[in-house]
Structures are given as C-alpha cells and as structure tokens.
Symmetry: C2
Subunit: 342 residues, 2 copies
Amino acid sequence: MGVTIKDVAKSAGVAPSTVSRVLADNPRISPATKKRVRKAMKDLGYHPNVNARSLVSSSTQTIGVVMPSSADKALQNPFFPEVLRGISNIAHDLEYSLLLSTGDSEDTILEAVKRMVYGNRVDGVILLYSRLRDRVTEFLYEKEFPFVIIGKPSENMDSISHVDNDNVQAAKEITGHLISLGHSRIGFIGGSKDLAVTLDRLSGYQSALQQAGLPIQEEYLVHTEFLKSGGRKAVHELFKLSQPPTGLVIADDLMSLGVVNMLEEFGLYVPEDISIVSFNDVYLAEITRPPLTTVDINIYELGVHACKCLVEKVKDSSEPAKRIIVPFKIKYRSSAAKREQT
Amino acid sequence: MGVTIKDVAKSAGVAPSTVSRVLADNPRISPATKKRVRKAMKDLGYHPNVNARSLVSSSTQTIGVVMPSSADKALQNPFFPEVLRGISNIAHDLEYSLLLSTGDSEDTILEAVKRMVYGNRVDGVILLYSRLRDRVTEFLYEKEFPFVIIGKPSENMDSISHVDNDNVQAAKEITGHLISLGHSRIGFIGGSKDLAVTLDRLSGYQSALQQAGLPIQEEYLVHTEFLKSGGRKAVHELFKLSQPPTGLVIADDLMSLGVVNMLEEFGLYVPEDISIVSFNDVYLAEITRPPLTTVDINIYELGVHACKCLVEKVKDSSEPAKRIIVPFKIKYRSSAAKREQT
DNA sequence: ACGATGTATTTAAACGTTTGTTGATGAGAG
DNA sequence: CTCTCATCAACAAACGTTTAAATACATCGT
C-alpha cells in the first residue's frame, strides 16, 4: 500500500540500498545523488516503515513506560502526568517513542512487560515505581534488559540505574521545620511499607526526631493507602490517642488533602490546631486551602533524567549503572505554623 | 540472539511454516504435531518477534494515544490518568499495546502522530481532546486513518467516531440545580473557547438560564485557562462587577479549586457567600473543602468505550462511524447551597 | 598506456514472520 | 491392484528494510 524504498529507488534511478544510505545520511553517497533521492522521496511522499527497520536493526527506538498497578490508586496522583511529561519531552527530542503499560495487578503488568520485552517492542524500560520484591524488576534484572527505576531499587542498588530524590534528607529537613516551629509531638503518615519512598521518608523523619532529642513513638506512625480513605483512617488512629500529635509529616500531598478534610470533620483546623507538611508539591498543593508546606521533589526532572539515562544505556550497553539524585526544595506555605506552647 | 521460529521448527522436526500455523492455531495442523511444537516452544522459551509479524501482516496490535499539548497544562488534570486507565484495561484485554504521544505544541504532536501513522507503528489512534481546527484531527481524517475522539469533533461529526458526554444536558441540569437553589445571578467560567467541551457546557448553561427566564449576561462569562491563574483572573473579573454573581458554573473541578482559593482571598466563602458547581468529579472533588457539587462524567468509561470502538473499527474497516454518549451523574455535595433572598 | 588506488554505486543476503501452493502419504473405491 | 481424494506438512515467496561484499568507473602516478 504505502510507498517503499524500492519505489523511491526506481523513481530516482538508483538502487534501494542507495536510498537507505541517503536516509542514514551515509557519507559514501555523493551529494548529487543524495539530492536527487531526497527529491524523489519528497515527491512520492515516502516514509520509512519502522517495523522493517526494527526487524533488521533490532532496535525499535521505543521505550516502555511501566506504571504501577491501577489497584494502587496511586495512579490518581498528578505525579504521573507530570513525570510522563518529563519523559515524553526528552523522548521526543531523542526521537524515541513511548509504549505505555498499566494493568490492574502485578500479574497483568508483568505479562505486559514480558510482551514488550520478548516481542522486541522496546529497547528499554522505565519503571515509575519501586516496591519491595517486585517481580517486574526481578524479571528485567535477570534478563539484563536495559531499565531505569524512578525511585530507589529495593535490591541491587548498585547495579540498577535509578533516578531519585534524597528522600531521607528531605524528610529530615521538613520534619526539622516542624520541630523548629515548636512542635514536639509529630506524627508520620506514610503509604505502603512496600514502597521504597515510604521507607526513606520515614527514616528521615525518625532521624530528625532523634537528632532533636525527641522520642520516636510507635503510635505516631501510620501506614495506609495513598487515598482518601487512607487519610481518614490515619486521622482516626492518631486522634484517638490521649496525647495526639500537633504536627504531621505526610508522605504525599494528596493524602494531606484527605487529612485536612478529615481533621475538619473532627473540628480541627490546619494550621491553627495541627500543622502539616508533606511531599511532592503537586500542582494542587498550591491551590488548596490552606496551601501546603511541602517538599518540591521536581517530578518533571525525575522524568527527564530517567529518560536520558535509559537512552544512554540503550545506545551503549557498556554504560555503567547510574544513581541520579534530583535536588528537592522545600516550599514554605501555610499548612505549618508556630506551635503555641500550652 | 533470541530463539526464532526456525529454532523451534528444527527442535520439533517440522518446517517453520508449521510452527507459524501452530501459533495461529490453524486447523490444518494435526493435534499431535501441535502438541509437539508447543512443547518445543516452551522448552526453548520461544516468543514471537512482533516486528517481523507486523511487517508481513501490516497490523501492529498497537493503538496510539494522543494527549493534548502539555502547553495546555490540562495535563495536570487527573482526567488523563483516569481515562488512560480505562483505555489501558480494555487494550490489555484485547491484546493491544498503547503508544503514547505528547508534545509541547500542536506542531510537535502532529509530527509525532505522523511518525506513528506513516511509520506503521499503530493500527489506530485515540485523541484525548477535541479542539477547533485541530491539525491532528484533519490529518487523520484526510488520511482516512482509523481514529476515535474523546469529546466532540468540531467538524465532520457524522463521519468521525467519538465518545462523549451529553455536556449540553449536563450543564443545563447542573445550572438548573443552582437556579432551583434560588440563585439568579449565575456566572460561567470556562476553558479555552477552542475546546468543544467548553462550548457545549456554555450552551447548556445558557439554555438553562433562558428556560428559567433569566437574562444571559455577557459580563458573567469568563473564558480562561484550566489553571490556577485562570481561576484567579476569572474571579477578579467577576467580582469587580457592581452586581457580582452569587452562583458559578465552572467547567472543570480543578478550576473550581482555584476559584475557591481566590474567593477566599477576597473574604468570600463557598457555599455561604457563593455557590459553585463544576464538572468531571475528579478524585479530588470529594476531598476538598468544601466537597464539590459536580457532574460525574464517568471518565473511566469514556476511555473504555473509546478503546472498544477503535478496535472494532480497526478490525473491520467497514464499521461505520459511531457516536457514543456516556451517561453523567450529578454528585450533590456541599459547594452549592440555598441562596438567602436579600 | 598500465595497473593501482579510491570513490560511488549496486548486488544480494539477512532479519523473523505469514501464507499460497505444492508434495507426500495413506485410506477407501472401483 | 491401481486410482482418487483427503489430510497433513513442507517449500518458497513475500513484507520493507539494512549492510557487508562486490563491482563499475574515474583518476592518478609511472
């Protein structure tokens, strides 16, 4: 149906291979013929068939992007469009396409990833999450297929390229902020304990408390889903305590919204009664009431670096595994306030 | 590198073509050989090469998904992950892959779409937006390439398959809700006038006013970006009027947040001073303060139907253009309240 | 005027499939 | 015991590229 390299060749009066070399701008072809062939291509409206090219070169110029299972409603999180924007812009610049993959369970995702990899559909994969004992990660790792994780690998850290923030440090600093505002009873609300990001943020939180000589209280720790219901549950647990916290470190902006919301039902207001700080600085963090004091983790840049890093690895497989840390920045807004000493 | 159909053939002692037919479960192959071949495939860990297959069958089992330019920060909108979830689930069931495409301008997107189409990378395309005089739409239409629009085509409505809500009716009903609460000065805040969705919602709003015998006032109409700054601007314009509205119909939940936020800076509260209603029923609508009264447009289903419809068209090109209307449902929450007559 | 050198192009094989056509084998009919 | 007809499997061409190797043709030093 389409016009092929042969048609162009015939029309320009050259061999197909010559057309191919013109396409690749091979110096072995004289400028004169190049011009002639290019004209023929234009006249006929020629466009190369990517499949044929992939078949022989066994490179697809495509990278696979794997989202977490939509069972993790994490997908609702504006994090994804933003990180995709970063990936997509770079991919476009480097002339790569994006093959997307989601699923509603780890199984379907693994299946989809296998299809991508075994079917020769992609040159490399970017994982948009990182969880403990993840079979997708294991699969890619064993197959020695090029991939990059956004987040921190739970195993083989040194041999898996990844792009991450210094979540420990970020958590430490933002917890420190709460402490410096006079809070001493500070709770932590995190996502699933299987997620690397939760663990890091928790550890930073703990280390800040420790450094300030504050006790680490087990009952101030809540792990729950990144969901409204999660936020509700967390608030319920924390505020039935005889000495509930006055400050909260929350692992995700979206959860913060749920918390603010639930707190309000309890007749508690942010930041007058409770101060909260969270992570991500999603678009929303700025427009909610109150605007959230949060850690800007530079989501867009996470995507950008992941994509660049993967393409490097794809182009030169001897490229070593990299660890790229994207800087964060605390955005001081109004969800955290000075604690009136009572 | 990989194990090919020939390796399997050799191992099973048959011809490559036989292996291929076993793959396709062709009845011309006897059960006995099928079994033998299948065993060989399993033993060798065979996986078909998709590119080779695409090359000869000129079908890629892939559908292209085109997002709006990220210059429209619309991308920040949780709409996209949700619609993607719908598309992706169906695609997975039907064994299709998703090739994603964004760009920061109409040009880059068009370029990317051309790469998809000309390069034989996709069998069909889903457009996640619909705007006036869109060159991507024009391109696909002229090329007679299978595609489906989520939203309403601005031209050739009857020959372009699309999945949409009855936005006119939805706007009419939700505006009616405001009217029935006693509001008579009702403003409309919409997105770009180029977007079909804005136009429909505007038209429903107007028709509700008309039907209630209320005047349609030009100064109560604001068109702005789907952004916080947009929300700000809108509020500024509306509330410098001598008779500002008491109710607002807002074309998107996210804008609503901006509006609530800005209103607050003016010392006005929702719903005590101003009632607002909006569209989409994004995850957030429920957890904000106040929870938004909004139209649930069933985003997930939009994706599901778009994907199904496209695959039908791809499989049978004689399939006629379809118009699929996904039902909406108004969620009554607390951002709209009775207007105290003053 | 000669082979040597180099440049510009062509030839042909390969990539891993699918699929129309041909060929072999065996069973049943005459 | 041959002939016909199924049934199953093999052969081979095609899909649109890339690329190593071969070839044609000037150009050059001698």
